[in-house]
């Protein structure tokens, strides 16, 4: 007996949800960046699960692309965070006021 596809997708949905909650409730920008990475990972898991269900390679190729995107986002994000810290000494989002328009 193998694991049914919806088992993988359920796990991926749970991880995505945890990541999204983390982005919304945590104040530290580094933790927020990590939570976004987790969300991307959750999406990757869903892509692979669907890929095996449909017996196609599209899912795997997409996951490779997403990894490039994740690396790029983290590289630019960390450069910004380190610069901001050197000038202001704060990595808490409250001082960056994320959701205030």
């Amino acid at each position: 007996m193998s694991v049914p596809v919806y088992g993988y997708v359920a796990l991926s949905g749970l991880l995505f949800l945890i990541g999204a909650i983390g982005v919304l409730v945590r104040r530290n920008v580094l933790v927020i960046l990590m939570c976004v990475e987790l969300m991307l990972n959750a999406a990757n898991l869903a892509l692979l699960a669907f890929g095996s269900a449909h017996q196609s390679l599209d899912g795997q190729v997409t996951v490779l692309m997403v990894m490039a995107v994740a690396a790029a986002e983290v590289a630019v994000g960390l450069a910004l965070i380190v610069t901001l810290f050197r000038h202001q000494g704060a990595t808490d989002v409250d001082e960056v006021s994320l959701l205030k328009g």
């Binding site: 945890i18 983390g22 919304l24 449909h54 190729v61 000038h87």
Partner: protein, 165 residues
């Protein structure tokens, strides 16, 4: 319960545990370590899905590069044992609403979906097919992704150079 199912439950449990730890731990460094646990477990699940190549890439890129970068970020911005970061902010009612909505969407999608194949069947092909796909039908996204990586490299350098000045 078969061995595959047992391994899936174990790895899935570790991934969820890591994710929860990442979101709830106050110490940034511990948070990052919990994230590494989650990413490692996900790599294991990729092996279960017979995407061995991606499992290797996952360990190399996420655990090897991205997690290390984040650890460097933590060390550069505060001392490791330094003051803890708050776990809750003022946005938690909003977070509750958004998460509930998201949970509803995902749950409905999960429960009511017409699953294409109820059980897992091995995907065709290995690394060779992946390579052919990247050079054939996915040549465009592949090339744009290389521009993306160039942008990230140039961008990180520009921003870091500003920091030095």
């Amino acid at each position: 319960m078969s061995l595959t199912q047992a391994v899936f439950i174990l790895l899935g449990g570790m991934a969820v545990l890591g994710a929860l730890g990442m979101v709830t731990l106050r110490n940034l460094f511990h948070s990052a370590l919990a994230m590494i646990l989650a990413l490692f477990s996900i790599a294991g699940i990729y092996v279960l899905l017979e995407a061995e190549f991606l499992a290797v890439v996952q360990v190399l890129v996420y655990v090897g590069a991205i997690a290390m970068l984040i650890l460097f970020g933590i060390m550069l911005t505060r001392d490791i044992v330094g003051r803890a970061s708050a776990v809750r902010n003022r946005q938690w009612p909003l977070a509750l609403a958004v998460s509930a909505g998201l949970l509803a969407v995902l749950a409905v999608a999960l429960v009511r979906a017409a699953w294409p194949l109820a059980t897992y069947a091995p995907a065709q092909g290995g690394v060779a097919d992946l390579g052919l796909a990247l050079m054939g039908p996915y040549a465009l996204p592949f090339e744009v992704a290389s521009v993306l990586l160039l942008v990230a490299m140039v961008g990180a350098l520009i921003i870091a150079r500003e920091a030095r000045e």
